[in-house]
């Protein structure tokens, strides 16, 4: 990975970082099967990978490859059938605030104002109302939604709603951000703006992100690393570091390397899909 700056050896400050050799998240031989119409479906098979702290990991794959299931398992919402999942060395049991989940839909409560939606996790956590509102205002400013605190979700555009959802998720102070195609339902222009916005916010945050998408350019533009998944059974078919510099922005998208990555991943997906590529009408949106 490029842009990785190592601390000079002379720095004598003691840090509380965990041992550097331990990945933040370790997924080992993860499998997920379920039965549908008395048939066993292998949603995931032997999925293994490590995620170091602070990495932006894109998981790229066609619909039905189990990438969302994988994210749901990491989030603790679903259980794996086999394999193990270690977070900072400890097995994952159920959802937790250390893994902030962002859904495909913004999932804001329509009966709450934007401010109250973002403040809700703080209220649940036992903060006082005024304090929760203050925190919500700060977070809304971070995602560029100042001035819309008193609006209701129905009054905002899809992009603005996802910004609010991002603010709410950041409010959990998670170690890992789990994003399940959060820009998939947005129009093309809004999606590009949101990608740049997310990059900007992430580059200042030091968060670990696992970002699910079926959009090649999105995966490459955002990610330090891209895992490509294949379907039936869902498994990892490629693990590629993205050697684009940081910070990334509008100019990154014009970088000739972007096009190279695009054709590389497209080739992988085309091979994986094989001659039946068009049978389910599942062409990639790129």
């Amino acid at each position: 990975m490029s842009g990785n700056i190592h601390a000079p050896l002379t720095s004598g400050t003691a840090t509380m970082d965990p041992p550097a050799d331990q990945p933040q998240l370790r997924v080992a031989s993860l499998g997920k099967t379920f039965s549908r119409n008395r048939k066993t479906v292998h949603a995931l098979q032997d999925v293994s990978f490590d995620v170091p702290r602070g990495q932006f990991l894109s998981i790229l794959g066609p619909s039905g490859c189990g990438k969302s299931t994988l994210l749901h398992i990491i989030g603790g919402f679903e259980q794996a059938s086999s394999g193990s999942l270690l977070l900072d060395g400890r097995p994952v049991a159920g959802p937790g605030r250390d893994r902030g989940m962002m859904f495909q839909q913004a999932t804001l409560f329509p009966w709450k104002t934007i401010e109250s939606n973002v403040a809700w996790p703080f209220i649940v956590d036992g903060h006082k109302r005024g304090e929760a509102r203050e925190r919500a205002h700060e977070l809304l400013a971070t995602v560029g939604l100042s001035g819309f605190e008193r609006s209701y979700p129905a009054e905002l555009s899809g992009g603005m709603r996802q910004r609010a959802a991002l603010a709410r998720t950041l409010g959990l102070s998670p170690d890992i951000l789990l994003m399940d195609e959060p820009f998939g339902a947005l129009d093309a222009q809004t999606r590009e703006l949101m990608q740049e916005e997310l990059t900007r916010i992430w580059e200042h945050s030091g968060l670990t992100v696992i970002f699910i998408t079926h959009d090649i350019d999105e995966a490459v533009f955002l990610g330090d690393r891209v895992l490509v998944m294949g379907a039936r059974p869902g498994r990892i078919i490629a693990d590629v570091d993205v050697e684009l510099g940081r910070p990334r922005g509008t100019t990154t998208k014009k970088d000739p390397q972007m096009a190279e990555y695009h054709s590389h991943f497209w080739e992988l997906i085309r091979q994986e899909a094989g001659p039946q590529a068009d049978r389910n009408g599942g062409s990639d949106r790129s």
Binding site: G75, R97, F103, S157
Partner: protein, 265 residues
């Protein structure tokens, strides 16, 4: 701020004449037809609007309407309140527990078409004459719309909303209060709106049988004395009450379910 949906809805509303005006127009038409029939038939069975109005004024003056109406409404609302509590609890339970759902659904489905008014004689035998069998019958009738409304409403909570609550660390009580109940509220109010007229019908019918007070009794007394204007005075009062309750619940929905645009009651 740009909000195409709301703007479009507003435009449609402004384009047509006031909806409340149209509502009143239907009622005015019914009254006009009645008046026409009353004036041309020439029998005492169809008193004119003026005669009915005079009778209502008379019943108000003597305190009859107030005395009997108060009793009727007290029993009716007691029954409705109990039905709301039991119905909401049942509906929530059905939406949250597969066991409860599997058990309750066939039960509700099988007992829904039974005319529960037919149970009234049995209820009288069980509880004796008086308030208890009446309230019980109101509860039995109003339970269905409340339970089904709450069930449908609570089922409308999305998986993502529940996962979000789990992610945030909200307990079941917090989730019920902050997520499930608000999401279920629109359908619960629709259930209440269906229950309110049923409540009036049932309570009045029970008062028509072996009772010596209440609006149903007032109606039967006027019938026994062969006073069609007295019967119709009670009928008109019931109509007004039903209309008022309906508007009240509609107003309540508008205030409480403000986020559901385009849904007008």
């Amino acid at each position: 701020m740009a909000n195409p949906t709301a703007t479009a809805t507003a435009a449609i509303r402004n384009a047509s004449p006031g909806p409340s005006l149209r509502r009143l127009l239907g009622i005015a038409l019914l009254l006009a037809v009645w008046e026409l029939v009353a004036n041309t038939s020439g029998t005492r069975l169809t008193p004119t609007l003026r005669e009915i109005g005079t009778r209502i004024a008379f019943d108000l003056e003597t305190g009859m309407l107030w005395f009997h109406g108060r009793l009727t409404l007290m029993l009716a609302f007691s029954g409705l309140l109990i039905a709301v509590v039991i119905g909401c609890a049942t509906g929530l339970l059905m939406a949250r527990s597969r066991w409860a759902e599997a058990m309750m659904q066939p039960l509700l489905g099988a007992t829904y078409p039974i005319p529960r008014l037919a149970l009234y004689p049995i209820l009288i035998l069980l509880f004796g004459l008086g308030a208890a069998p009446k309230v019980t019958l109101v509860v039995l009738e109003c339970l269905y719309p409340m339970a089904l409304g709450t069930y449908v409403g609570a089922r409308s909570v999305t998986k993502d909303q529940l996962w979000l609550a789990r992610n945030v660390g909200a307990g079941w009580l917090r989730t019920l209060r902050d997520v499930t109940l608000p999401a279920a509220l629109p359908a619960m109010l629709t259930g209440l709106r269906a229950a309110a007229p049923i409540m009036l019908i049932v309570i009045v019918v029970t008062e028509m049988i072996g009772e010596n007070r209440g609006l149903g009794y007032m109606l039967m007394l006027a019938r026994a004395n062969f006073e069609p204007d007295g019967v119709l005075a009670v009928v008109a009062v019931l109509g007004v009450l039903g209309f008022l309750f309906d508007r009240l619940i509609a107003l309540l929905s508008k205030l409480l379910v403000f986020w559901e645009r385009g849904v007008r009651m």
